[in-house]
Amino acid sequence: MSRGTLLPKSGHHDRRLEVSIAGIPLRNPTVLASGILGMSASSAGLAVALGAGAVTFKSCGLEPRKGHPCPAVVPFEHGLLNAVGLSNPGAEQMAREIADFRQRFQIPVFASIFGKTVAEFGQVAEIISKARPHLIEVNVSCPNVESELGTPFGLDGAVTAEITRVVKRASEGIPVAIKLSPQAHGIGRIARACQDAGADAITAINTVGPGMVIDPVLRRPILSNRVGGVSGGAVLPIAVRCVYEIASQVTIPIIGTGGVSRADHALQLILAGATGIGIGTGLHEAGDGVFTDVCQGLSDYLDRNGLDNLDKLRGAAHD
């Protein structure tokens, strides 16, 4: 039996890949996306060992949530559908995990929060701020809890701006990133409203759709929640477009996320204007080496083009 070789992967060290997001220095632009591995200090630590430049924890709310029954994550031919349903142990417990992570690991940690009301975003931010994450990402765009929580906040620029203000007030000087939905019409304008409301960064995108996969024999949706957000390779062009639109409207850094499993995917997001590169489903599509491989590919690209860092590439696809 060939046992999966485990950690530590050596990682990839190239100072030319260092970037800074809202003043936070990252050893490389890759960021573990929210909802992947980041359930606990140790599980997020796995991504550190795998080479991520920063990690984002799973989104947490005020109360513990079990989320939806399984199947909650189902691959299809071109990506993944998930309807985990924001299962999380609640902000208090998450804060403990994040504090633990800060103690044990040297790389930046981003919290991710959601709320059922605008005010609740503030409450959760306050709790999570106690753990002093390097950044608080605000998930205004999760498609999986819509029926319960109403229309995603992230589709409405004014509401999103209001949430930004509330979280900024509650987060004691910790930088705040707003994570936007690709379903929003005019995502550039919404990002601009977030920047005007004080956001320090934008994360784009959350999952696309939602989508549904039906089993032809059992004749029913496979996901227990019926529908789930689409991620992975299928959504890369949508992420690239969103980052491009956002970059043309804001000056704050963008964590470009969606469909990255190779360096050329990351490059597209950087050329569109991203500073950080979120990676989630790529861990499934390309395996545990994805962070290292993406970084290696970026280094090779810098070599080939005689570049000292990623700055000249960022947003270079805009004319």
């Binding site: 140790s42 994550v73 142990p89 861990l283």
Partner: protein, 284 residues
Amino acid sequence: MTDGIHSPFEGTPVAVVTSPVPVRIEDVIVHHEALKTFVLEAPFPVAPGQFIMLWLPGVDEKPFSPSLVTQRWRLRAGRIEVTARAVGPFTRALMACRPGQTVGIRGPFGQGFSLEPCSLLVGGGMGIAPLRYLADALDSNGLPFQAMLGARTAADLLFVDWFQRRSASFYTDDGSAGVSGPVTQSLDVELESGQFRAVCACGPEPMLLAVKKACETHSIPYQLAFERYMKCGIGLCGQCCMDGTGIRVCKEGPVLTARELAGVTELGLPHRDATGARGPSGHI
């Protein structure tokens, strides 16, 4: 979407089927009302100790390590047997399933047992089920082994007849069958004997820890099959990660060795539940 892994008994890389495949329940073997073996069509191979996710449409999907897999899956004649005990909503719904019904399975997931000569198999409760498949695989490969199998009562002891035809000793907490007391009671003596070169264990976590300790004392390599709450089964969600190193029970496990357990700090603690919180509610 498939990942290449190696099947120990086919020799060639096997694709992991990560989307549920509908399969018929061919047969249901009733051990007692709350303990049954479900014989399923096998659309893919599963190695001993690996697990599948079993989907009951409309109910939920849960991890199970087969109690037997017949290897003729390429001929579409293979069977996967899953032995389950009713402990909650899912397994209760499973008990109501009848032959002819269709369920969904995906896998094979994780890393199983490696087949070693002179293995001692230590099983407790439902943990006997995957060991039965392991024992069968050792048999087919002509590798000698012995089994020590324990359960609360005689009624909970699985596959007694089958194991009796091999080399096995039995233990029950209440003495209703075999030796009275925990299966680990004479472990030191057995390992002392020098006849075992490997120990494979599956069962409640306290039992696994006792096995681990005894193996460490006698410097015998061990392979322990763990259980953790699972959401994705494919190494993505982080739900099943163990504190310390973050090792994923669904991917690097469920069978873990000393190498992979190094640095793990949560053994014996209550498990994390569906929310991800480690509560007193989580069982060991």
